[in-house]
Symmetry: C2
Subunit: 234 residues, 2 copies
DNA sequence: ATTAAATTAAACTAACTGGTTGAACCAAAC
DNA sequence: GTTTGGTTCAACCAGTTAGTTTAATTTAAT
């Protein structure tokens, strides 16, 4: 920022991100981070007072990387559930293909320190325009309400909205969290696996809608969706 | 075994299990385990040479706790896929309700040390009767084949079997892995959450079948299944 | 050139942590 | 009751780790 064009602070953060995501807080060593950054260990304390503080910075950034785009989608009252689901699943996959270690990292550190993360979450996700959500991170009420509405209209199956939400999230996360198991079980190369993830995006949308929608409504949606897709690609 | 009736070895193992599952290998402290066991730290080394060895014992046991019952189901050539899915999902939930921290623990340590776990897996799951599976842990070929068969018979949707398998596993694991997020988001007490998990068992079966089966075949299955359930309960 | 900030190297500390030692303990065997 | 041998303990040891200090060097702005 001041002198060097390649900002040391940023170099440290990227190294720390790699090491913390790979080893977790307890497993990471400051020397390891310094080596990863190709920099003297002293610098870590010069820029970020302590290991804990450096970790907090990384964790908060990573948390936002994952949550903010998703929160934006789920908070948007203009969007219909179906559009929310499509954007959510695609957004999740696109972010995670770029940051494959994020889900497991966040979940593991969250599980080790839930209280801290929960209070951080309230600050991390900016609340826009005097909006005061009951569920600060994923105001799921609209989501739930709209599903009830769809059920009443006879479009949706009599599915428990909470169970559906957990299933959808599980379908999204699992391919990333269990990357190695899946890769090994299916004997995939790295490229094949990335391709698998790219494809998976649309499969998860499809699976979610198969759970949610009544067969004929699903058929109609798929038809319409297919046409839209054709129009965009031609 | 020799003198005391309350086996110290077992006391240590249970304490180690709790601490390792909560903190992970890197985060766990031998003193912490000793305290948890209400025992002198020396005893840990007396019974289990090193931290690493103690961890390996626990990890292998936990790995087996999860995998063996599932492998038994998936290896059974007598069972139809549908029955396999039902037993798999139920078995998974029942085991995990008893050991809620198992999935995240195993996945996290697996991700940190994939090579070691993979070679361990081959020993851990006993191969019965000169059976030589291509996929040692979850010989998924039968599973895949039967799904292709169901598609050919017009019973199943044109779903990618691998994607389905990942989705099913994700639906199973996520409720346990993200326990705290889910509990917080839905503002549940501990009892309510256990109830949610109990219920979830059948929901996941249902979700999986909704993805897998064509609507009319799903309808038939559900009908038959409902009758069977009524017969068992009356 | 002068100055101030950035960076490195190396030695150091204070706390922590896995692992060890040697003595005490205790129940059974003689 | 004394011996025996596995069991338990408090204290200790050696290596590691986060974090500090100090001094020297490089870099960039004035």
């Amino acid at each position: 920022m001041t002198k060097k064009d390649h900002n040391t602070e940023e170099v440290i953060k990227e190294a720390a991100r790699i090491v913390f995501q790979r080893e977790g807080f307890a497993g990471a060593r400051m020397q390891e981070i310094a080596d990863e950054a190709g920099i003297n260990k002293m610098m870590l304390h010069y820029y970020f007072r302590s290991k804990q503080h450096l970790f907090d910075v990384i964790f908060e950034e990573d948390y936002s990387t994952l949550m903010v785009p998703l929160a934006v989608i789920l908070r948007n009252p203009e969007l219909h559930v179906e559009e929310q689901i499509i954007r959510f699943v695609r957004g999740y996959h696109e972010t995670m293909i770029e940051h494959p270690r994020l889900p497991l990292f966040l979940i593991h550190e969250f599980a080790k320190n839930p209280h801290k993360v929960l209070e951080m979450a309230q600050k991390a996700i900016p609340v826009s325009k005097s909006e005061e959500p009951a569920h600060p991170n994923l105001s799921a009420t609209t989501f739930m309400d709209q599903i009830e509405e769809g059920k009443a209209l006879g479009r949706y199956n009599d599915v428990d909205a909470r169970q559906l939400a957990v299933s959808m999230l599980g379908m999204c996360t699992h391919a990333f969290i269990s990357r190695i198991s899946v890769r090994t079980a299916y004997e995939m190369t790295d490229e094949q696996y990335v391709k698998f993830l790219e494809e998976r995006k649309e499969h998860v949308v499809d699976h979610t809608f198969r759970i949610l929608m009544k067969p004929d409504y699903y058929g109609k949606w798929k038809n319409k969706y297919q046409k839209e897709k054709d129009n965009t690609s031609t």
